[in-house]
Amino acid sequence: MSEFQVDKNGYYGQFGGAYIPELLYPNVKELEDNYLEIIQSEAFQKEYLYLLKQYVGRPTPLYYAPNLSDKYGAHIYLKREDLNHTGAHKVNNTIGQILIAKHLGKKRIIAETGAGQHGVATATVCALMNLECIVFMGEVDIKRQAPNVARMKMLGAKVVAATSGSKTLKDATNEAIRDWIQHPEETYYLIGSVVGPHPYPDMVARLQAIISEEIKWQLKEQTGKENPDTIIACVGGGSNAAGAFYHYMDEKQVELVAVEAAGLGVNSGESAATSQLGQVGVIHGSKTILMQDEYGQIVEPYSISAGLDYPGVGPLHAHLYHSKRGTFLNATDQEALDAAFELTKLEGIIPALETSHALAVLPKMDLKKNQVIVINLSGRGDKDLETYITELEKREA
């Protein structure tokens, strides 16, 4: 078996597992006992692939970006996850998990969200399947991602503000877990990233793996080879990166670049670059690398991007980092903003702030001529317009 697949105990190397209170044990066990069988069943595959094609709009294009390529002297392809229904890769996972939840007979769906993309993707599939939907979102994020809050409400979801801690993704996740503890029987917790107790990281990675599955044949169609030299993706919890890396993890010649949010700078005290600032610990039910103080108290992270503003990283990524299979870079708020404006002007594509971090490492990399690079364009920038407008005004002043 691949050293980058989860083992039978739910670990990637030393990372992963299920560090959960007994109150959650039956729910997690139920999922662990059933998820593989459900995902591998013909009925699931048929419905999942049908919805991805006809409802989500897959396959998403693999677009050769000529102007960006010119500028950096490499062959740069953009995997257009931003063109998915709801505007990001998140829906690949929510379509899959909502089918699993239905199979398990769950009636009430809860989710956490940072940027609101996962919240919107969850509210969307709940509307589609006519299921009750409650989304937990940090109070700070509710303010900075107002359009997504409105979308969730319009889709019929109840948005609950998380007001503890840093009032961001970590706290929204705490609130969702707490709600799950209170409603253990009828509720399905639809986690949006490759985080949480086993089997969530593996389940979400499998549901996002469609991204690299498509990259393989699309690249082959366009270049004759299915492997690029490099794949770049941003990492908060790490679901889009997990999807983009998934089918390449064992292809050691393919460089996997994960880009974390450095906020105001890795060492500024206002950062979310977990691999650089964290140590081994347990967060949200999983052993991974996380930002913490000497007493194990979780440090509140910071990034301009709500989707990367998370003090941990999925256990798969902790393993990729620790084993050196992955290259972990980071980008500051300003570098991400610059990259967003650059892509918009060069290619006419406005990326999400999260995605902009992945683009922002291009100037920092030592690129070879004709290097084939795939950047996972995980989401579109509509939700970030307010931030972009502020930046635009600054630039015009």
Binding site: P21, G165, N174, R178, Q297
Partner: protein, 256 residues
Amino acid sequence: MSKLSQLFAEKPNRLCSVYFTSGYPKLNDTGTIIKNLEKAGVDFLEVGLPYSDPMADGPTIQETSSIALKNGINLDLIFNQLEEIKNQVSIPLIAMGYFNQVVRYGAEKFCEKCQSVGIQTLVLPDMPMIEYEQTYKSMFAKYGLSNVFLITPQTSEERIKKIDEMTDAFIYVVASSSITGAKGTISKAQIDYFNRIKSYNLKSTLIAGFGISSKDTFDTVCEHVNGAIIGSAFVKYVGANGVDKIDNFVKEIIGN
């Protein structure tokens, strides 16, 4: 024999335990709280180790933990505070915190400190049973520490029996499937649940927790299990009334 086992042998029912958040309401209240609770007739105590992300706790304990952390509380200070009153109290003390705190502090160092301040029992709600069996059981034993496991209405009979086997302190019976601080009374479904557990004829002492906030709920629960832990209600009380009138709160509940 641990202090707890001794206590359970002497007093098989109406055991009253109180949870408090260390470092709350004020940083150095820990010693006074313990002494006053012992004086008021509480049988054993849960020393809460404030954590930034206490996912098994309700909003009251989360909020007081966050205030305690802002007050400057940390594990070293808590151990110092316990060391200072070690010779003035004899009540059994349990430490309740989260697995990450223990791992980051250094599990062995944590155990050593617990032993030296007189803690003999731990509640770490997010420590997986498999980690306990493989790694921590023997380490805890080396320092005279026993671990408490939680069960809920959803825990299977098979798992409850396994927990009973592994337990040498008590089983923490989560009274409702909700989190701590939930309001209200003890329902018929909860009583059925207590009776179901009793019907397994477990060897362990059963202590109920979560949602016990009044004389009424305490009395009802004690008809079915050996005792109860009061958490959120006490923490709220000291938040509003300070640490000097703790005996009023305790007498109200155990009715001395």
